[in-house]
Symmetry: C2
Subunit: 498 residues, 2 copies
């Protein structure tokens, strides 16, 4: 076996471990009885530790060197070369950080998350501050080690974990543009909305079983393959699972089906990406999803670009009426559309509409950059958060529960993740625009429940590439433009100002 072939075998084992962790995590969130939590954490930590050792090992380093040295990689094709590059990136992340630091960080994050779960409902930032300090201190050490290994800034080293190759210069330019654009745009959108009838609220109850039957039907319409996945219930919706076994979750609110249904279509977008990855490269780094920007682009493309539309809702409205035995104006297509495109200044990111959402993200991105750089002291985070939201969105959280305590990310250790939400929204607008241009059957398909043209385009231009291309390169190849907020802004203008 060549060094490259040995690396493939090596990383295949790592992928099986990742799959196993994916399943254990899904089970923990959907099925596990409370008493299993401690043992489950140990199972997952053990598998992650084994995976880390495998990838960080000197043996992997030697194989990587041997596969690259002396033209050994000249016999490799494009996919194999891209695979080798992803292997190196994975190894660099793993090898950069000492085991002790990883373990300390992992424990600090678990401990901080536990405190946060109490502090958030009590709106008590002071309670979680000491734990969060520990997390940030350790995270900055991790960032420093990785920054040295990659030759980039601290923040970019963390960003690379979620968005490989992500650059702050690119994000700054995009987010500065949006931060100028959005405040006046939100005013305009709200003024336009005020001239339209207010949406009528469909009256429930909407039994969970009926919601699930409807959601399952629409997942099938979008192209979800139930022989390779499932839909279940968890406290927070997510898309997880393993190779050829993609599990999405949601939560049913029996008083209101509207957002729960859309959450399923959002997760279905994530799932279609996973299900459409190049089968020839399953279990190899190059066969994985490219990163969180593209992942979020696929969920937002389905949710925001394809499904919150007149076309899709004209198809879905009769199914919604049938599912719940609903009738009258509340269940008409145009009323549902007004629901699904309603704009509102609100405090909670996860409940925000697509117009105001980027303001929440830009704020968090700027804050976490300052914190990682050591420029913003954690004691000043609550006020900085509230000031920032007021400046961008024009409303000030009345307490930290609705301010800097609302999101789990910083407390559980997902630093550098936030920007991918809005980068994904921008990429989604570009992909959908390009797809419609390339195939005129896509929009009529959405209106008739035929998603095959759209999914076919995504398979060819996004999913099927796995991690072969960098995010920017893939976006540019598929849409003719690098990531650019112009298409997203045009989409917002067309939907919210008309």
């Amino acid at each position: 076996m060549s060094a490259y072939q040995k690396l493939e075998a090596h990383f295949r084992r790592a992928a099986h471990l990742d799959d196993a962790v994916g399943m254990l995590h899904w089970d923990m969130s959907t099925m596990m009885p409370a008493g299993g939590a401690t043992a489950r954490a140990e199972q997952m930590a053990t598998l992650r530790g084994i995976r880390h050792h495998l990838i960080a090992s000197p043996e992997t380093a030697e194989l990587l060197a041997a596969a690259t040295d002396n033209g050994a990689s000249s016999g490799l094709d494009d996919w194999q070369r891209a695979n080798l590059a992803e292997m190196r990136r994975d190894h660099t992340h793993a090898a950069a950080v000492e085991d002790d630091l990883i373990e300390a960080l992992s424990k600090a994050c678990s401990a901080c998350e536990m405190v946060w779960r109490e502090a958030r409902p009590e709106s008590d930032f002071a309670k979680v501050l000491p734990s969060l300090r520990t997390v940030l201190d350790l995270y900055r050490q991790v960032a420093a080690a990785k920054a040295e290994a990659f030759g980039c800034s601290l923040y970019e080293a963390l960003l690379d974990q979620w968005e490989p190759g992500g650059k702050t210069a690119t994000i700054d330019a995009i987010f500065d543009d949006l931060a100028d654009f959005l405040p006046p745009f939100i005013d305009q959108a709200l003024a336009a909305q005020a001239k339209r009838p207010a949406p009528i609220v469909p009256q429930g109850p909407f039994p969970a079983e009926q919601q699930k039957a409807l959601a399952t039907k629409l997942m099938g319409v979008l192209g979800f393959e139930f022989e390779r996945g499932r839909l279940d219930v968890s406290f927070h919706p997510f898309c997880g699972g393993a190779t050829d076994d993609v599990r999405i979750t949601t939560r049913w609110d029996e008083a209101d089906f509207v957002e729960g249904l859309m959450a399923v279509l959002h997760e279905t977008g994530h799932a279609l990406y996973e299900l459409g990855l190049p089968g020839d490269w399953r279990h190899q780094p190059v066969g994985k999803a490219r990163g969180m920007t593209l992942h979020e682009s696929q969920s937002l493309l389905m949710e925001m670009q394809a499904c919150r539309t007149h076309e899709f809702l004209s198809f879905a409205a009769p199914l919604i009426r049938e599912a719940f035995g609903g009738s009258g104006p509340a269940f008409e297509t145009e009323n549902l559309y007004r629901h699904y495109t309603h704009v509102d200044r609100s405090f909670i990111r996860t409940e925000a509409d697509e117009v105001t959402y980027p303001t929440h993200v830009i704020l968090r991105y700027r804050l976490e950059r300052s914190m990682i750089a050591g420029e913003l002291d954690l004691a000043d985070l609550p006020e900085a958060f509230n000031d920032g939201l007021e400046a961008l969105l024009g409303i000030r959280p009345p307490d930290d529960r609705q301010g800097c305590l609302q999101d789990i990310h910083w407390y559980a250790g997902a630093w550098g993740y936030f920007p991918t939400y809005t980068l994904g929204a921008i990429a989604a607008a570009q992909f959908f625009g390009a797809a419609k241009r390339d195939d005129p059957a896509i929009v009529p398909g959405i209106a008739t429940g035929d998603f095959a043209p759209l999914v076919g385009w995504l398979r060819a231009h996004v999913h099927g590439h796995g991690s072969k291309l960098p995010t920017d390169g893939l976006v540019e190849k598929a849409t003719g433009l690098p990531l650019d907020p112009a298409v997203f802004k045009a989409h917002l203008a067309a939907r919210y100002l008309d």
Copy 2:
């Protein structure tokens, strides 16, 4: 850290891997979509391979030597010494066999099981014979390697995987005794039964949801802790899962609740053993269940000794009537008792009553010993099976589907497992007899839905010992007798001849 402490850390990792495999296996049997099967097999093989390397490693061998040599174990207490002995047993099993052979056997078993799944419904033994030959050949190599490492016979080396320390001389004596006892006893039991009214069949349908609600209630009565476990549906009932997260499964037949309900109580007996293992020794070899004889004794104690009784059924009958809205003679305690103690000569082991069941087991034990010893050629298995059942039970399978093709064990590679079913039935009778003697509150408790006295006795005399004692030692300590079929025979006589 001492060598012993290092070993504890080592085996703790192995236990986490075992737990992870347990969860993946549970999910595979209950939740997994069909498309996930290939990737799931790879996940499980990867974890098992890592576990095997960890335990078989020279490092483990050196630590075992260091923990034993020069009186290093003199500072250990009873539990630690027993733990060390279990570690050594585990290591000996793992280290005895070359990786190549383990992998070849694993693949051969998977392949053979696939062919068997087709051959069984077609009753086509010839179809599966070549695959079964491969499995047996490899299994005999494994047995030879382990027999040399342990200094025992080939069959005992395989038996030790399921029933540590099991001896064929003991089993032969017990099974010869039963093989003499049962044929005339079955005649007598059937004659006695013929004088009683035939059981009236309760008429369904019995919706799965109602059956589940009833089963859940009765699991709670027996002492199942739902904060540390679940009940789900799978094709074959089993008890699996992980530490502090014990998952049992069953299958609901909407036309007949009788056997499905008892299957749940059987699996609950397994689960109570797992949930009652010594918490101080969780994740250590000595903290595990002792072996399959004791495991089966716990399920059969609940099912056969405690629940198929007038006492339990007088408690359960009103709950059964309430669950299904049933009434009339079919739902009376005595009619249910006649159902639950009905004796019948039948071909299928898993459907057999407790009187005829041992004949199925004795036959399989004798056949697999001959096959492992190379005395019975596989081509002659169908006829030997049919001859043997006819001799022991007086009926001859009309085809191999109801003969030697009915059980998965040989085809999937569980050689040496069969005897534990009947050894467990014998131990169950002894335990229940001793428990009743020790605590007069046990039988009245069963009649009123208070299983605390019984479960308390089992915790103290069986569950809480983990693997500290050998099976025989534990049985003798708890009941005053080594494994002895006399109590089981007396139980059968009392129940079926009166």
